[in-house]
Amino acid sequence: MAEMTYRQALNEALREEMERDGDVFLMGEEVAEYDGAYKVSKGLLDEFGERRVVDSPISELGFAGLGVGAAMTGLRPVIEFMTFNFSILALDQVINSAAKMHYMSNGQIGCPMVFRGPTGAALQLSAQHSQACETWYVHSPGIKLVTPGTPADAKGLLKASIRDNDPVAFMEGELLYNLKGEVPDDDDFVIPLGVADVKKEGDDVTIITHGKMVNVAMQAAQKMEKDDGVMAEVVDLRTLRPLDVDTVIESVKKTNRAVYLEEGWNFLGVGAQIVSLIQEEAFDWLDAPLLRVTQADVPMPYAKNLENLAKPNAKRVIEACNRVMYR
């Protein structure tokens, strides 16, 4: 094991996959000379040259589509969105081209590619730069969605995503890039898509979550254990498509109570799908309604106090857990 930041873990994954496969290239705004807006691609230009590390113009729709065209002819593009907020401009190419190409062409033409970058809010970036984009991507069949919350998951899952033969949206977080954690030294450390990770075991209540919120769930679970002796189980989905439903259902059957925590908006959010699956497949095991902790149903405000009110936090998770435990 080596301790490294989430940023370094992503950088290592990119470097290793580019060394491993000459068809992998990185394209996006500021990825080359500037070393990446968040320095995820630091040093890659020097190592791989401008053929494979390509600074794009600010044209999200255009370079996302260019990536799809390159993938249609067998390259494995990694398309960086400076943030997924800007990928809203590119959604036509993601949904109408990347996600449907393999199906429309009857399996003749695939899109083995990754769209990656941070999603969700950072600090006081206000409405247009602070939105969790998972739902827009995961809603459409044909594209996979990966949301690592720790450095180890970031590395292992990015490597798996680059090797996957379908388009994968890989969502990171600005506030995660400096997060430190242990990452296995294994030079081919790959985490398969579709496997959730129980980040903390417990019998009293299940907190299901993904991405950056894994860390908020852990704070809440640790506080509940310390303050009240409540043992919460934290299930990190890690990938939303494919989705490890079995691990969720198994945990709910053990605790009989669950809370979904996510950074995005509530209405038709990821949690809505998870809640639906739980009631379909574990209805008889439930002892309480399923609750969701999400962002307030408003555009993200700028003022610090309002932003704090809008974001999900450990306190709100604990309140929700207490409600489903009737405490």
């Binding site: 113009p57 729709l61 255009g62 589509g65 260019l66 799809v68 065209g69 249609m72 898509l193 579709g194």
Partner: protein, 374 residues
């Protein structure tokens, strides 16, 4: 690479199709065969006859309910499919929008497999899952009909990026309608193609109308100026003259292969039918007289026929033989499609993903489905 095209210019130039084309026709008749060999010219005639008869057969099939959904015919624009694609190599790629039946045939897909796709049959070139607007054949390097206006333009740039990345002696041609040049995707793709010197020819099939809106009503400047600000050399071609088109594209393909970077071509043409089978041929946006005059004077098949007659390279008997052959192929395509099977029900879930991960769930509809879809 030396960038010698900071001031791109427009080459060629025919009168706008919406202006008087009759004199153009008279001139072009005396122009000979544009340096195209009589054999090639006759082959182009046979190609265009096939495209015409194929589309007429599709029209007939649509009318009796054999083809559903949207169906955009290429009748009147056959010279574009023939003249732009015939000069290419098999290893070159073509990609298009949704008026692409004849382009798919021109790139080598068998007419019967195109017709079967229009019929929604398993033997179709997209297995019945794509339909009229999404014809694909990776072996023939026909990279799709695409249904969102302008959406295929960045894809073409990506294909060209691949070619350059792998240093191959190939190119991509990208067809789009005139309305596509008002889409952001078009401009973003043009800019990147120019910046990276991508081996691509972008073709605007300029039939003067985006559905029912005249191009001149939605743009201050003409198509031929649209790529100039990206320093992409631009050529104007009379697409109703297939020999001029063929000869121009032969030259352009060579330039692109020589590493000169992308080319942009404003191919002037005219659609003889409605925007799609559900639309009227004429009406509020263009007059019956205008359409009749174009059909009368600007039919690419008739224009080539007359040129070949004038040059003594075609006689009536040969023409009738070519036409009979085209009609037979179209009928055979119809019969094949009509007799072909619909896709199996389990095709519904097949090929949504190229890779079914061994872990986790990919489908969430709660319906029974074959094991391969999990």
């Amino acid at each position: 690479m030396e960038r010698g095209r900071s001031r791109a210019t427009v080459q060629g130039g025919c009168d706008d199709v919406t202006t008087d084309m009759a004199t153009e026709e008279e001139k072009s008749v005396t122009d000979g065969l544009h340096g195209v060999s009589p054999d090639t010219a006759r082959q182009l005639l046979r190609d265009m006859l096939l495209y015409r008869r194929f589309e007429e057969k599709a029209e007939e099939a649509y009318a009796i309910g054999k083809i559903g959904g949207f169906c955009h015919l290429h009748i009147g624009q056959e010279g574009v499919a023939a003249g732009c694609i015939a000069p290419l190599r098999e290893s070159d790629y073509a990609i298009s929008a949704y008026r692409e039946h004849t382009q798919a045939i021109a790139k080598g897909i068998e007419p019967r497999r195109v017709m079967a796709e229009l019929f929604g049959r398993a033997a179709g070139c997209s297995g019945g899952k794509g339909g009229s607007m999404h014809l694909f054949d990776i072996e023939k390097r026909f990279m799709g009909g695409h249904g969102i206006v302008g959406g295929q333009v960045p894809l073409a740039s990506g294909i060209a990026f691949s070619i350059r990345y792998r240093e191959l002696d190939e190119l991509v041609i990208c067809f789009m309608g005139d309305a596509a040049v008002n889409q952001g995707a078009f401009h973003e793709a043009m800019n990147m193609s120019a910046v990276w010197d991508l081996p691509a020819i972008y073709i605007v099939e300029n039939n003067a109308y985006g559905m029912g809106t005249a191009f001149t009503r939605v743009s201050r400047n003409p198509i031929e100026e649209k790529a100039l600000s990206y320093a992409i050399p631009t050529t104007v071609v009379n697409g109703q003259d297939v020999l001029e088109t063929y000869s121009t594209f032969t030259d352009l393909a060579e330039k692109v292969r020589d590493g000169e970077g992308p080319q942009f071509v404003d191919v002037r043409t005219y659609r003889f039918k409605g925007h799609s089978m559900s639309d009227p041929v004429s009406g509020t946006y263009r007059s019956k007289e205008e359409v009749e005059s174009r059909v009368e004077n600007q039919d690419p098949i008739a224009l080539l026929r007359e040129k070949l007659f004038d040059a003594d390279e075609l006689d009536q008997e040969m023409l009738e033989e070519f036409d009979a052959e085209a009609k037979e192929t179209a009928q055979e395509a119809f019969d094949f499609a009509d007799a072909a099977d619909a896709p199996e029900p389990d095709e519904l879930y097949r090929d949504v993903y190229a890779e079914l991960n061994p872990n986790g769930r990919l489908f969430f509809d709660g319906l029974d489905r074959p094991d391969f879809a999990r």
